[in-house]
């Protein structure tokens, strides 16, 4: 097991190296000029050129790439072109809101989607099943920003139950923290709930046809015991896989959700950096996301061994 973990961790190095090369090259080739954005619209061409030179953007690709890689190897993600702040510091400022949003969304999604999928499979063909699948279709179809605006209008503006926007750090108390996250988590969680509920239902339907379920029934096991102990445990591997893949959905959705609810997280940092061509920030955030994604996949692979003892590495 440990050998496997070490192998997988080592395997992340070429993956990260490829991501780094790809991101740097893509940004180098992409049109756009941070110097022009910094200089402002009224700046003269000379002003823009001066800023470009001061940022080192006029140097050759290989020089810039090798410098960047050298810094990365030292754990330095560089300095933002626009703020003059270290990228690591900017990411640290923004990581808590995004992490909080993802955790709350994940908890919300799992606690709703798995029971929904189980019940839909159990009541296959009934109105409950159709209602759950109808919800799943809605979850997939309605964009996050539409759900976000609707929730903000109803629950923040009309009912005044939650704030419209913003984020309160956890350190300032659980209530203010969760109050700011409920609506964004529901908006972001919609598609995630739909995905997990559908997979749970499909897997459960397959598992419920197995002989050992029939045996459990014959031995007199109760319905909930059959569903949640016997069936769900055996259906867990595909569900966990989808939960892992869904992390990517969450990262993508967080960009929109953070904009709609004005949450100062990594999603907004990424969008702002892309629009302004703040190369060091884009590179740092993409590297971070890639690393997180690789780690999540590793974690899921390891989780398989606990869920299914037949799996060995």
């Amino acid at each position: 097991m440990w050998a496997y973990i070490i192998r997988r961790v080592l395997a992340t190095i070429p993956v990260m190296a490829f991501v780094a090369l790809f991101v740097f090259s893509l940004l180098y080739l992409a049109p756009g000029d941070p110097a022009a954005v910094i200089a402002g619209d009224q700046a003269t061409p000379d002003d823009v050129e001066r800023i470009r030179a001061s940022l080192g953007l006029d140097r050759p690709y290989l020089v810039r790439f090798s410098e960047w890689v050298f810094r990365i190897l030292q754990g330095d993600l560089g300095t933002s072109i626009f703020t003059n702040l270290p990228v690591g510091h900017m990411i640290a400022q923004r990581i808590e809101p995004t992490l909080s949003l993802m955790i709350v969304t994940l908890c919300l999604a799992l606690s709703i989607a798995i029971p929904m999928g189980v019940v839909a499979a159990w009541k296959q063909g009934t109105w409950i099943d159709r209602a759950v699948m109808g919800f799943a279709v809605l979850g997939f179809s309605v964009p996050v920003f539409v759900v976000g605006y609707l929730l903000a209008y109803v629950f923040a503006l009309e009912l005044d139950w939650f704030p419209v926007q913003g984020y309160t750090p956890f350190a300032q108390g659980f209530f203010p923290w969760i109050e700011n996250l409920v609506l964004p988590a529901v908006a972001l969680g919609g598609v995630y709930i739909a995905l997990i509920a559908r997979i749970t239902r499909a897997t459960m339907l397959e598992v419920l046809q197995q002989d050992y379920i029939r045996t459990a029934r014959a031995k007199g096991a109760g319905q909930s015991s059959i569903l949640f102990l016997h069936a769900l445990k055996n259906a867990a591997v595909p569900i966990v896989t989808v939960v892992g893949i869904g992390i990517a959905l969450l990262i993508g959705g967080a960009v929109v959700t953070e904009s709609v609810f004005a949450i100062p997280g990594l999603g907004r940092l990424t969008v702002d950096a892309i629009l302004r061509r703040d190369y060091p920030v884009i590179q740092g955030v993409v590297l971070l996301f890639s690393f997180v994604y690789v780690l999540v996949n590793l974690g899921i692979d390891l989780l398989y061994t606990f869920l299914d003892p037949r799996i060995r590495y």
């Binding site: 009224q42 000379d46 050129e49 209008y153 419209v164 004005a262 100062p264 907004r268 702002d272 629009l275």
Partner: protein, 528 residues
């Protein structure tokens, strides 16, 4: 009390004393939450010239002079000045009691260092440097600026509100090279910048500087007594206008600098919100042509476009049907100011498509593609681009519509190659009316060829008018120079204005003291 607060209060009542909510409400009343027009991504008002940086910097750093609402420069940090009879030597004396936010006094050497950092970045500063003999601190409170020839616009240069402003910083910070960003934000103005609470892209916080000594009298734009009436100012960056509108309605923010016109009717319906014009000097839309390459290196083609152009079409597309917000221009300078001129500008005021087609035919236009760069991510520029594409096609021109983002426009417009080799033919932008009140900060109207703004027009008559304006000793001679510039700019189509438009600002009814101006002024603003 709002419902959510009521619910919170009910929960809190079980655990805390009754006094706590009262303290909380007082604290809230001392904090002004403001939604700025854009993100405060950096905080060096000399290194970059974005308006949002200038707006924040105006609260943190003071200026030697400041323009009032009549655009007249008034003394601000300066107590007085004397000018020699030949106009060559200016001697300035600083007000007593000026201190920086780190508690050190503002000295003449700080002022000299600040001017030295500002001047190379500013068009007026560059002119002053070109004629500078010496700029020295005489003692702690006095400094002298000797010139090789008179410069009547000295006080305006040091007090204008166009970017970059001549903000006064401590000498050690002002010593930072102009190519590098400052990393210490020790101000001289009425508010301090809380660097530890700054989250670029999300939040910037300012606090009242208790040791700031305002001038006597009432504040008027950048001039007068800058009295801060709240303890804390929080800038809350909201990239999404709908979220900002919701937050203002819910009372989560107090003042929104630039609501989009689509949302203004919604805000007007809310009895807790006031809406008014933000900046009486507004903005001038621009159809900027590349004078270096075909087809717009041909004067008749440029004239044909200006003749065909309907400013009303642009304004209705950009601003909407609220005619209180826009008007058609007959000149290049800001309407409503003493410098506005319609000399030679009759052709700008109404579209003449048939005449334009005849002119285009006479020009010898050979169906060269017009490469239009349109920043689709800018709410003002996308509709302008759409109107232009339609206008040029109706005129009979071959349109190469490049739908891109503003970052790419910013890069490509600096390319001087022909359109087919990475260059361009035209792009849209807009100019703040505050910059267009005279030629001092109005880069877009300058026509000095290689030294001109993007498009590089070369029109000696315009430049002669500009020189006359800088040397003009009286208001009458200034006006004559402006008329000359306007006439030459129209005849040669330095660029084509697409109309004059204003925008709204909105604030909660419990906020008072909000004034109209080219930037948000936080002095005199209070909250109950």
């Amino acid at each position: 009390m709002e419902r959510r607060n009521l619910l919170k209060g009910a929960v809190a009542a079980a655990t805390v004393t009754a006094a706590a909510p009262a303290i909380s409400q007082n604290a809230a009343a001392r904090t002004l939450r403001f939604v700025p027009q854009a993100n405060l991504a950096n905080f060096d008002p000399i290194w970059g010239t974005q308006y949002v940086v200038r707006n924040a910097a105006a609260a943190v750093w003071d200026t030697l002079y400041g323009v009032d609402e009549n655009l007249v420069p008034q003394r601000q940090m300066v107590e007085g000045e004397t000018v020699s009879s030949d106009g060559l030597t200016w001697e300035f004396r600083l007000r007593p009691g000026l201190i920086f936010h780190d508690g050190t006094p503002v000295l003449a050497k700080d002022v000299v260092a600040s001017i030295n950092r500002w001047a190379p970045r500013d068009p007026m500063g560059q002119m002053l440097r070109a004629i500078q003999d010496e700029l020295v601190a005489v003692d702690d409170r006095n400094f002298r600026w000797k010139l090789k020839r008179p410069y009547p616009k000295m006080k305006y240069a040091l007090g204008k509100c166009g970017t970059p402003c001549c903000f006064i910083m401590p000498e050690r910070i002002a010593a930072t090279a102009g190519n590098s960003m400052i990393s210490e934000y020790v101000g001289s103005g009425p508010m301090t910048f809380k660097r530890d609470e700054w989250v670029p892209g999300a939040r910037a916080v300012f606090e009242k500087f208790g040791r700031y000594t305002p001038r006597e009298g009432a504040a008027s734009w950048l001039a007068g007594g800058k009295r801060i009436l709240v303890d804390r100012l929080e800038w809350v960056v909201m990239p999404d206008p709908a979220t900002a509108a919701n937050a203002l309605q819910a009372g989560e923010v107090d003042w929104w600098e630039s609501p989009i016109s689509d949302l203004v009717p919604l805000l007007r319906r809310n009895r807790n919100i006031l809406v008014d014009i933000a900046d009486p000097l507004g903005n001038i839309g621009s159809f900027r042509m590349n004078h270096l390459h075909a087809p717009f290196n041909n004067l008749k083609v440029r004239q044909a476009v200006m003749m065909a152009l309907s400013q009303e079409d642009y304004m209705r597309a950009v601003v909407g049907s609220d005619t209180a917000l826009w008007s058609v221009l007959g000149g290049f300078f800001t309407p409503g100011t003493s410098s506005y001129s319609e000399a030679g500008g009759e052709v700008m005021k109404r579209s003449n498509m048939e005449g334009a087609k005849r002119l285009l035919a006479e020009s010898g236009y050979a169906n060269e593609p017009v490469t239009c760069l349109v920043g689709q991510d800018q709410p003002l520029l996308k509709p302008m681009g759409d109107v232009t594409a339609d206008l040029l096609r109706r005129l009979g021109m071959n349109v190469d519509f490049v739908a891109t983002d503003w970052g790419t426009v910013g890069q490509r417009r600096a390319v001087r190659n022909p359109p087919g080799q990475g260059g361009w033919s035209m792009f849209h932008t807009w100019h703040a009316g505050a910059d267009c009140v005279n030629p001092a900060g109005y880069n877009a109207v300058r026509a000095n060829g290689d030294g001109a703004w993007f498009g590089w027009p070369s029109v000696p008559a315009v430049e002669a008018g500009v020189a006359e304006w800088f040397d003009a000793p009286t208001a009458e001679t200034e006006k004559a120079a402006i008329d000359k510039i306007n006439r030459a700019a129209v005849e040669n189509v330095v660029y084509a204005p697409t109309g004059f438009f204003k925008s709204y600002q909105a604030w909660r009814r419990n906020v008072s003291g909000v004034v109209k101006g080219p930037l948000p002024f936080f002095w005199g603003v209070s909250k109950t």
